[in-house]
Symmetry: C2
Subunit: 235 residues, 2 copies
């Protein structure tokens, strides 16, 4: 995986020595540099020229990988939801025969929080950009909508009857996905927890608490999720 | 008071004729037009010239009221937290003799959610702008930090012992203030509830559920909060 064979792209001209991340492919280096720039100076303030400079390649070389910064942003955004969608598609098939809705939801929220916690340069902060509403980001918005729908289905099935009756599936989906996305703000505002994984657990636990589950029910869901995510890591 | 709220999605094209807000002062019209532009085209893409055009005044007249768009944004941001801070300062003095921490927290979360739900053009979407980290927005960040601290104090006092022990005051404050801020995303993504006030109640209820309170405890807190906020509306 990591052996240092020269790739076909190694001979491309570079404007200067690469600044960092030499273990990443050129494409990944561009994504990483763009995420850093977007989060530091904003999307509209970042040019493909500045991205290329940061990677240490020529602007022309950047266009070999991406049509422009819109495409880079679209890829970063999709990368922040895709792992959660892939996970939830597999887990929903197993509800309720092999895992309870609460267990599946705990697992989903944990994995979603972890994914967002680990995105390069916290690119989830870009979710609120006005540009995201434009049609060129349809793919991301559709993926996030799919994820929201899964949160709604699992949430309404897991919820205490009081909560399911007063909130309904749509509101439950909206609140749960946004609870998972809190990790974006926690990461930005509050530093990290002593053990960063604790935030994933805190968020997954909070999702079940919002649905009215007791501490004992949450502990059981957490155990179920632990078994499933350990399995999924080995797939 | 009510002419400036829009439930629409940011970024949707809008008829360019100046709005009818003739009941607003010139200063308020500028704030309203700026909020609309910032949410549609982003902060960095909005000029003071475009703001002035939208109000139907000359750029020079805008500078009579504001030094520039930074000052306009600072004022919009402060306006989105100030009512909640003023409220919580009064209510915290009355805890626990006249109101329980849970009752005070329910009231705070309701008022905070309502304030954010009613900001012109949902300017809470600008909370994640990278620019907000710069020193000229210190006043807003300090105010929001004050509010977060109040959420933490009330939250840890109201929480089920299990939750207080595992999450701690800082994380509780961070999660609760962000739960209230979910209304920004609900407003943007999910349209409005059948009765918009329902979202305030849903959010306040969710804050107490995250803290591990039972449905009966939440109902009691809601009654307490109803009495207090009715009083505060009459002050």
């Amino acid at each position: 995986m990591s052996s240092v064979t020269t790739s076909g792209k190694a001979g491309r001209p570079r404007a200067s020595a690469p600044k960092q991340n030499s273990a990443l492919s050129a494409r990944e280096q561009i994504l990483d540099a763009a995420a850093a720039l977007f989060s530091e100076t904003g999307f509209s303030g970042s040019s493909t020229r500045a991205i290329a400079d940061r990677v240490g390649i020529r602007q022309q070389s950047l266009y070999y990988h991406f049509a422009g910064k819109d495409e880079i942003l679209a890829e970063l955004l999709s990368g922040s939801v895709r792992p959660s969608i892939e996970f939830v598609q597999r887990i929903e098939e197993r509800v309720p025969d092999e895992i309870t809705p609460a267990g599946a939801l705990f697992a989903l929220a944990s994995i979603d929080a972890r994914t967002l916690r680990q995105t390069p340069h916290n690119i989830g902060t870009l979710y609120l950009l006005p540009e995201i509403q434009e049609s060129r980001y349809d793919a991301f918005r559709i993926e996030r909508e799919q994820l929201r729908a899964s949160y709604g289905r699992l949430g309404v099935a897991a919820a205490h009857p009081d909560v399911a009756a007063t909130m309904g599936e749509d509101r439950i989906g909206a609140i749960l996905i946004q609870l998972a996305e809190l990790v974006i703000r926690l990461r930005r505002d509050g530093g990290t927890a002593a053990t960063p994984e604790d935030d994933d657990t805190t968020i997954a636990t909070s999702c079940l608490r919002v649905l009215g589950l007791s501490s004992a029910e949450i502990a059981a869901a957490r155990d179920e999720a632990g078994a499933v995510t350990a399995l999924s890591a080995s797939l």
